[in-house]
Structures are given as structure tokens and as C-alpha cells.
Amino acid sequence: MVRNKLLIAAAILSGGAFASPAAAQSEQFIPILSYRTGAYAVNGVPYANGVADYYNLVNERDGGINGVKLLVEECETGYATDKGVECYERLKGKGPTGAAFVNPLSTGITFALTEKTTTDKIPIITMGYGRADSKNGAVFAYNFPLLGTYWSAADIAIQHVAKEVGGFDKLKGKKISLLYHDSPYGKEPIPMLQVLAKKYGFEFTPIPVTHPGVEQKSQWLGIRQNRPDYVLVWGWGVMNGTAVKEAAAVAYPRDKMIGVWWSGAEPDVQPAGDQAVGYKALMLQHGAGKFPVHAEIEKHVYAKGKGASEPGKVGEVLYNRGMVNAMLGVEGIRKAQEKFGKKPLTGEQVRWGLENLNLSEARLKELGFEGMLKPVKISCSDHEGARDGRVQQWDGKGWKIISDWYTANQSETEPLVDEVSAKYAADKKIQPRDCSKES
């Protein structure tokens, strides 16, 4: 009996768990770190579906990138940092050349991986999240916070508030609160908002909400007492929907709430029903809706029964974001192939591709992303590429775009980026690259 148990245990522990499958030589491996379970699954699932479908599209329609097929494997992180590190270690060496890049899909995992990816020479793409100071590619050679950092987001949010109240000079004396997820993700915008509060003279109050964010009663009672003019919401997953419901419970006007782009998707407002009408959120350039690329996905992926999502959910905000994220990585590889040849590339080569990525209006049109994104140009010193955003509002059925494009003011974000990244470089003894000498 005991021996049988031990045998079973031994078999489970040793049983083929490390068998390494033979990898075909003309494949490019891309790991997908996602979370389809746990507290943040409602937002994690549509995102992961978008990512999976786009890679599938490239394989099904084009046979890969210039003939190099994409080999993907998904690993469940559950939004936990230690599991994310485990997933990264599991997947980074797979395929003929190792991982092309990694999308950690969590600011906490991004922090934990930043040093590891630099040692392993694998680019880390953190589209619309991650550490804001990593925009400085001279110090953070392998981090790519593409399309926008939280500091850019904070700046855009304040620009919109200023527009609503009638100009930057009217911000003086206004009260703006930040309801944030109490993790590196939620804290990231605070330094930028403090800088802006000082500059424009508004009163800034950060209000933390603990993970996962379902308990916000006391925070909202505080908001009811303090009556801030605006509440910025930096939440994720179940925290967003709860914030909307709690706002309704204390009768705080929903149209005075502005969520960051991670607080502005369908799962965040749909559960609140009519209570969510009027809620506003930033857009990471794109919003919900279908574009030419969706037709391609429906034709080449869903028609063949290979889609990851329910067909009705294609075109939702987070699905689109996953797709854009996958596209930027694929284009980075494509660019790198121009220099290094049409073969599977190493992470270091893909990094060059990402750093020289230039998606013009014409190229975006070719890709089917016309109208969804603005041109993106990444360089050695600017790993963010673009810092544009709009504001959308939930009308009970769908998201409506209610503003023009805002571009984050670099004169405000840049000094902070320089200061914080210089401190990081000093702490880690990194000699910043001279970007004028990079080709």
C-alpha cells in the first residue's frame, strides 16, 4: 500500500514532465503569459483571446512572418508575480531560438522580470502598462512600454479634466482623487499626478483599494464626504465594476469618473447595468469596434473554427488591445528580419527590430488597423513610441468616443522619466547607452 503510494508519487513527480519536444527549425517561438483564471480573469480572458487570434491569423493567412511560422505557448500566471516568473523561465528557452519577446501582462511581473530579461536578452513588451521610467531606452534597453505609460495616461486624464472645467487655469483649487489598485500598477501614476497637482494647483488625494478590489465601501464614504470634483480610477478586473457600483451607491456622478485604459472595457461597466451610464475612460488609442483586420480574422481564423473567443466578443476593447499588442510584436519581428534575414531570430535581434519599428499611416492601413491606431515610431531613446489617447464614455450599450486626440505633454513627463531612470541606472550600475551612436 505504502509502496504503491510512493510509486505513484514518484511517477507523478518524475513522469515525463521535462520531455523537451523537438522543435521545427523554421519557427519563431512566442510565449503568451495570460490569466484566464483567478480574480482578474474577466479582463484577462478577452485580452488573451485577442493575442491568440492575431498570431493565428498571421499563421493561417500568411503562413507566418515571411515564411517563419509562429509557435506560441500559453502559460497561466493568475496575475501572481511568482507564477509569472515561473512561466517566463518555463517558456523563455523554447523554440529554435528562444522567446522572441515576452508580454508579462502585469506591472508586478514586469518589475520582477526587468532585470532577468536584460540578462537573458529578451525584449519585454508592456503595452500601456509596466514601468513608466522604462520609456528611456538608453537605460532600459529591453523594456518597451509601447503606446503609452501611466505617466502619459495621468497627463492625458488631467488634460481632459482641464478641458471639461474650461482650461488649465480653472484647475486651481479643484479636488481630484485617484482611486487606485494598491499594487505597483495602481501606484505608478502617483508621482506624475503629484507633479501636475503642484503645477496646476489642484488638490490631489490618492485613495488605495486593496487587491482584488471588491471592498471599497470606506473609500467611497470618504469620497462622499470629501466631494472631489473628479475621481480617476486606476483599477483592474473586479475592482472597476465595484467602483462604478459604489459610486452609484453614494450618488457620486459617474461622468465625473475617468478610468485609465485598463478601467475602460466592457466587463468593467456591463455588470453595473444602468448605474454605469456616463462613466468615462481613457483609450489606449483604440476603443471597441471592428476594423478591416477583424474581417481578416473572421475570414481566416473564425471561419476555420480556430478562433479563441466567442465570435460575438470579437471587437471588444480588451480583445482589440490584445490584438494590437500581438501585432506590435509581430511587426517588431518583421522589422528585425529585414536586417537579420528571414529565419527565426533571437530576442536580441528582435529587440533591434522593435527599437527601429516605424508604423506609418500607410503601413497601418496595409495591416488593417487604419483608424484604430495612430502612427507609432520607436527609437533608442523613446521606447514608448506614441503617447496619444482619447476619452470614451459608456452610454449603457457601448463606448462612445467623446474627445479629440490628446498627446501627453512630454515637457511634463520627461523630467520625471529622466530623474527616475537615472536613479535606476545608478542603483544598478548601468551605463546608459549613447543613443546618438545606435544604428
Binding site: R3, G16, F18, R36, A48, G78, F111, K187, P208
Partner: protein, 375 residues
């Protein structure tokens, strides 16, 4: 037959008091240590599968060793002294953040007194050990209630430590050197001028820590102090009657246990994660450590290792298995299956053997003693 001890006579007091009195145990341990200290580095050096890739070292062995160390610490308190603690995650965090502060230099501005306390950055090894010491001091403080309350009541009191320190490290930005995101990153691992950077070096570092502390703990629990702890655990009134001071026994258990957990926390932060936030040491970590001790075996050093392996490695294996066998399942299904199978295994194990793996192994030993002629 395999485990027959006949003929192993003990003729001196030293032999009688040896840590491992049975020859087979000594040999097994020597083989194990040989594999861990010489085998693994050699296999990794020659890139022999599966040790050639970083995965096994960095994502399996490294966390396993560190959490096994933490489990030893928890086992001293819970298993040997019988004081249930749910604050282990907090003690890990104290170890990690104290080591971080000491490793990056401490500066306490005391403007109202007109001076400031400044300590230059200390060497990493010293910071890790001092991190353990800081955890020990806090452990003693939070152990004081154990003099009046016990069992579940104490568990709730230690839970307070967990929540309090979660709050402290999230809110008091002095501890994170005013990092804007609250996430801090460890100083470079320099040991006497030697940079510990590669996976195998990190593995060796943790292995040395774990081996030293495991031997120390093993020695401690079979000595005077350990016997006092066990007496308190088994019946505190009786222990008091035979002359054991509960104050001393309980607080030493808290101190030693927190010290080891603190060191493990510092290693977890410095060596494994490299960059961390308070969530890395949340209540889930405390529960995970407690489960390791219960599954591995209360009051057993070896059980701590097996418990750590079971709680940490088995889910990863369950998660990897379908992909490796080529079964086409979605990530979601695999993860849910992992939870189901792992949960049922825990239930099954606890029903079949409530005393954990350590007890299973000692039963195995008994059987081997009689093998092949059991009665």
C-alpha cells in the same frame, strides 16, 4: 533487510548522540548532499538535460530550496512548539525589507533632535542575516501574546502581524526607499567580492543556506531547547510543572522560527524574485507555508522539504503534464484541472495520513526493517 540496524552498536556517548545514528540514514543523506552539491552543478555545467536549461534551476529548485527553508522555520514554531502561526508571510517580508534597507543604506532623519542616523550599505550576506535578526525581534514581540493565548486564538493574533506588516510595507514609503510604484529591487548579490548572478551560483548560495540552517535546526530540536519546545507543545501545564519556563521556551521558539523565516524571506526577495512588492508576502504565502508544514509532517525537518516540494512543485508538474504529453487542452482547462487534482490529492493525503509525508516515510522505514518477511 535494507534497513536492518542489527550490528550497528553504539559504544561511545558521541555515537549514541549522533544526529543520524543509523548508518543507512547517514549514507542516504551523504548521497543526497552529494547529488545536490556536486551532481547538480556538474550536470548543469555539462548542459545535461534537464539541468542544462535555466528552468529547472531558476523556476523549480531555487524557490523549492527557499520555501523549504521557510517551512523549516514554520515547523519549528508550529510543529515543534505547537504555536499555530498565520504570520509567516509577514516575517518573510520583514526579513526581505530589512535586508533591503540594510543592503541599500539606512538613513533616519531625526530633524527634531538635530541629527540623522546614517548607516552605509552593508554587504549582502550581512544584510540577509541581519534581516533574519530583525524578523526574530519582531517575532518575539508578536510571540508575547502566546504566553496568554494558544491554539486558534494565537493563530488570529499572529494574523494581526500579517495584516500589520502588509500595511506597513505598502504605506510607509521609507521602507521602499520612496520608490514611486512601491516595488523595490534588490542590490547586486556580491558575496566577498564574488558576484552571484548565474542560476547555478544562486542555486549553490541557497543550497548552502538551506543545508546550514537545516543542520542547525535539526540539532536544535533534539537538544535541550527543542525538548523544552516539544514539552510545551505536548502539554504546557505538565511542562511547567517539570520546571520548563513557558516564557523562555515559547519566545525562543518564536525567535528561532522567525529568524529562519526572515532569512528565507530575504533570499526569496534577493535571490529568487530580484524585485518585489508586498503582495509577494501576502496572507497566501503564510497559508502556503502552513500547508507545507502540515502536509510534510508537523515536527519533522525532513517533512518541511517534502511538504515544500509537494505544495510548490506538484502543481507546476500537473500544469506542465498535459502539454508535455501532447494532450490538446486549453490553458484554462489545464489550470482548473491542476486545482482539482491538487486539491483532491491534499484531501486524500490528509485522510489517509494526517501526519503527513514524514509519517509515511517512517512507516516505509519500519516496513523496510522487516522486509522481505513482514509479519
Amino acid at each position: 533487510m535494507l534497513y536492518r540496524e542489527a550490528g550497528q552498536f553504539k559504544t561511545t556517548y558521541a555515537e549514541d548522540m549522533a544526529i543520524f545514528p543509523i548508518r543507512q540514514d547517514r549514507m542516504a543523506l551523504a548521497v543526497l548532499l552529494g547529488i545536490a552539491f556536486i551532481g547538480v552543478p556538474l550536470l548543469a555545467d555539462f548542459d545535461i538535460w534537464p539541468f542544462g536549461s535555466d528552468y529547472l534551476l531558476r523556476a523549480i529548485l531555487l524557490p523549492f530550496l527557499i520555501l523549504a527553508l521557510a517551512a523549516i522555520g514554520v515547523n519549528i514554531l508550529v510543529g515543534y512548539c505547537g504555536q499555530i502561526s498565520l504570520g509567516s508571510g509577514a516575517f518573510m517580508a520583514i526579513g526581505a525589507y530589512s535586508a533591503y534597507k540594510l543592503g541599500t543604506g539606512v538613513h533616519i532623519p531625526l530633524a527634531w533632535l538635530g541629527f540623522a542616523i546614517s548607516i552605509p550599505p552593508l554587504p549582502v550576506l550581512l544584510s540577509i542575516l541581519l534581516g533574519g535578526l530583525a524578523a526574530a525581534v519582531v517575532g518575539i514581540l508578536f510571540g508575547i501574546p502566546s504566553l496568554r493565548i494558544k491554539g486558534l486564538y494565537l493563530a488570529v493574533a499572529t494574523l494581526a502581524a500579517q495584516f500589520f506588516f502588509d500595511w506597513v510595507f505598502l504605506r510607509v514609503s521609507w521602507f521602499t526607499n520612496y520608490a514611486p510604484s512601491g516595488s523595490v529591487s534588490a542590490p547586486t548579490l556580491d558575496f566577498f567580492g564574488l558576484n552571484v548572478g548565474t542560476p547555478i551560483e544562486r542555486y549553490m548560495l541557497c543550497l548552502i543556506f538551506v543545508t546550514v540552517f537545516a543542520f542547525l535546526a535539526k540539532n536544535l530540536v533534539r537538544g535541550n531547547l527543542g525538548r523544552q519546545w516539544m514539552a510545551i507543545r505536548d502539554m504546557d501545564i505538565a511542562a511547567e510543572l517539570i520546571g520548563i519556563r513557558p516564557l523562555y521556551a515559547k519566545l525562543t521558539a518564536f525567535a528561532v522560527s522567525s529568524f529562519i523565516i526572515g532569512v528565507a524571506g530575504a533570499l526569496w526577495a534577493f535571490v529568487y524574485l530580484g524585485s518585489w512588492e508586498p503582495l509577494a508576502f501576502s496572507i497566501e504565502r503564510s497559508l502556503q507555508l502552513l500547508f507545507m508544514v502540515i502536509i510534510g509532517g508537523l515536527g519533522s525537518i525532513m517533512g518541511s522539504f517534502i511538504g515544500a516540494a509537494f505544495i510548490l512543485i506538484l502543481p507546476i508538474m500537473l500544469n506542465l503534464l498535459p502539454t508535455q504529453l501532447g494532450v490538446p487542452l486549453s490553458t484554462e482547462t489545464i489550470t482548473h484541472l491542476e486545482f482539482i487534482i491538487f486539491g483532491s490529492l491534499i484531501c486524500y493525503l490528509l485522510i489517509k495520513e494526517p501526519h503527513g509525508f514524514a509519517r509515511l516515510i517512517s512507516i516505509g522505514k519500519e516496513k523496510l526493517r522487516l522486509w522481505p518477511f513482514p509479519y
